[in-house]
């Protein structure tokens, strides 16, 4: 299924990636080519086939609901572009 430029813009917005007009044009061709190619899955009869959830059959692991780690504010903030008083700083959201 082919996508149009408006669709490219919509999904780029959903993915939070800014695209220029030129990029949107070339992405339209590239994404359409990929989507056309995966269309061949339409040939496969999947009636009654369960979707895969795990390649290895295993019971969901559980652990005790207890604190196992913490007190690492500095470690967590160390790689951030901007921090203040133990917080990540982002552009103003509320005026």
């Amino acid at each position: 299924m082919s996508v149009d430029v408006a669709t490219v813009r919509r999904i780029a917005r959903l993915a939070r990636i800014a695209v220029t007009e030129e990029e949107a044009q070339s992405l339209q061709h590239e994404l359409s080519a990929i989507l056309d190619w995966v269309e061949q899955l339409g040939e496969v009869d999947v009636d009654g086939v369960p979707p895969m959830t795990s390649t290895v059959a295993m019971a969901m692991k559980k652990r005790a609901d207890t604190v196992t780690d913490g007190g690492r504010v500095e470690d967590i903030l160390r790689n951030a572009p901007e921090t203040e008083d133990g917080y990540f700083v982002v552009p103003k959201v509320v005026e």
Partner: protein, 490 residues
């Protein structure tokens, strides 16, 4: 003592036991080789100080007679693995400056076993690629060249830096990861041995996530024995990864000497694809004959949904990638590009930080998961995946292992295929099915094509039967011999 870099891990282990050389001498030989080979662009971050400190510690352990399984073995680490306080950026611009405050489980296990870190290896950005051309740090050059031709070739990908470094003798072995063929395809392109273990065999904790239901770590090595040695140290249960499997890890080395007499080897007819070069087909025939001569029973098998594995992969993997890569938002780590407001900052950061192939895959993933398309794409692909797994289960009722080519072609030139995404994806046609079904696979060099480039054969085994990979891999290695490129790069 530069010839120290020609020794395998097993030979280094023996040499240390005899006291033939020190870990420091070996580390220095590798550091010199790396410094002389920067033109290949295999290492993107070198750690000579860490290497010398770890080697000194190994020498002490050796002197005390307390050597661990990988004592003094110098390794390269794919940039996808988090290494504490050291460059771990998935070869992406968006992780600029990221040095994690923790160590991945797999690398921690290697260091616990005495291995020595030489540095971080180049790769396709976020492991998305089959040629190492999508790296923010530029492409890696394959140490192999066509006969009488200086055209720079790709080493394959995404673990292109790992494969090139092992082939060029810049490390004794390397860590790598395989989501759709990223260990096995570069192994085939560089004449090295690459193992993708069963999904769940190695912990994914601390490895930058690409497609979580497919990603697995594994070794790249010079020969089958070295791969078996590394595998044992990398594998094992980890409570920090709920998908890691609690099963004992055997010593894989005894399997190397085990005969394949009576072993049932399946040859899947669907891997005979249109346009496959005659050389690849001939090599596959050779492989079948090697197994037959070694006493194995050859069985024709059918994996009817093989051709759908690749298109299904290109729905599942981008979908999971679009979710995993949502975390790169310019807030907690890496690159930030300022914007007018929060959303503008996100969009500008991600536009500047992600390369072309990564953007393409995030957008495809976002599209197939978006409202109204989920059933048609993602759910359908996961159903096809069930069929692919069932194909393998039926085949494994009749056989113990499967033998296939690793790739439909040898290494190609840098820039030769990068224009067409789908053409690039075809590189993984023989490797992707094992990822989709979670099965273990190995690529072993099996011969050279007419231009003198290495080609690999792949063995696929049942879940958690990595021992069968090594047992089968030895049949190929014994018959084909080993392959090393002639040094033109240092």
């Amino acid at each position: 003592m530069s010839d120290l870099t020609t020794l395998t891990i097993a030979e280094l282990r023996d040499g240390y036991a005899r006291g033939a050389f020190s870990a420091r001498e070996v580390a220095d030989a590798y550091l010199a080789a790396i410094a002389a080979s920067r033109g290949l662009n295999a290492f993107i971050h070198e750690t000579p100080e860490a290497a010398r400190a770890m080697a000194a510690q190994s020498d002490q352990r050796l002197a005390e007679g307390a050597a661990r399984p990988l004592e003094g073995i110098p390794l390269g680490i794919k940039d996808l693995f988090c290494t504490e306080g050291i460059h771990s950026q998935a070869a992406s611009h968006i992780l600029d400056g990221f040095a994690p405050p923790y160590e991945s489980t797999v690398t921690a296990k290697l260091w616990d076993d005495g291995a020595v870190m030489l540095g971080k290896l180049n790769m396709d950005e976020f492991a998305m690629g089959s040629s190492n051309e999508s790296s923010y740090y530029g492409p890696v050059t394959n140490p192999w060249r066509r006969n009488g031709d200086e055209t720079p070739l790709v080493p394959g990908g995404s673990s292109g830096g790992s494969a090139a470094a092992v082939a060029a003798r810049l490390c004794a072995g390397a860590t790598a990861t395989d989501t759709g063929g990223s260990i096995r395809q570069p192994a085939a392109f560089t004449g090295t041995v690459g193992v993708k273990p069963t999904y769940g065999r190695c912990s994914r904790w601390g490895i930058v996530a690409f497609a979580s239901s497919l990603d697995q770590a594994g070794p790249l090595a010079r020969d089958v024995r070295d791969a078996a040695i590394l595998m044992r140290s990398m594998a094992g249960h980890d409570p920090k990864d709920t998908t890691s499997v609690d099963q004992p890890v055997p010593d894989y080395e005894p399997a190397l000497d085990q005969s394949v007499k009576g072993l049932r080897v399946g040859v899947p007819r669907e891997y005979r694809v249109d346009g496959m070069p005659a050389e690849v087909e001939r090599l596959w025939e050779d492989g079948v004959n090697w197994f037959r001569d070694a006493g194995a029973e050859i069985v024709d098998v059918s994996l009817p949904h093989t051709k759908y594995a690749l298109p299904a992969y290109y729905i599942v993997a981008p979908a999971e990638a679009s979710s995993n890569l949502a975390r790169y938002d310019g807030v907690r780590y890496g690159l930030r590009v300022e914007g007018d407001d929060l959303i503008d900052m996100y969009e500008k950061t991600r536009a500047a930080g992600f390369g072309r192939e990564v953007k393409r895959r995030v957008l495809i993933g976002t599209y197939v998961l978006s409202a109204g398309y989920y059933d048609a794409y993602y759910l359908k692909a996961q159903k096809v995946r069930t069929l692919i797994k069932q194909d393998f289960e039926h085949a494994f009722d009749k056989v113990d292992i499967l033998l296939t080519p690793t790739t439909p072609n040898a290494a190609f030139g840098i820039g030769e295929v990068s224009g067409d995404p789908v053409q690039m994806y075809i590189n993984d046609i023989f490797t992707v099915p094992a990822n989709m079904a979670g099965l273990p696979g190995i690529s072993v060099p099996a011969g050279l094509d007419a231009a003198g480039l290495p080609l690999g054969l792949q063995v696929i085994a049942k879940p958690f039967d990595e021992a069968a990979l090594f047992r089968g891999g030895m049949v190929i290695e014994r018959a084909a011999g080993r392959f090393a490129p002639t040094d033109w790069w240092s």
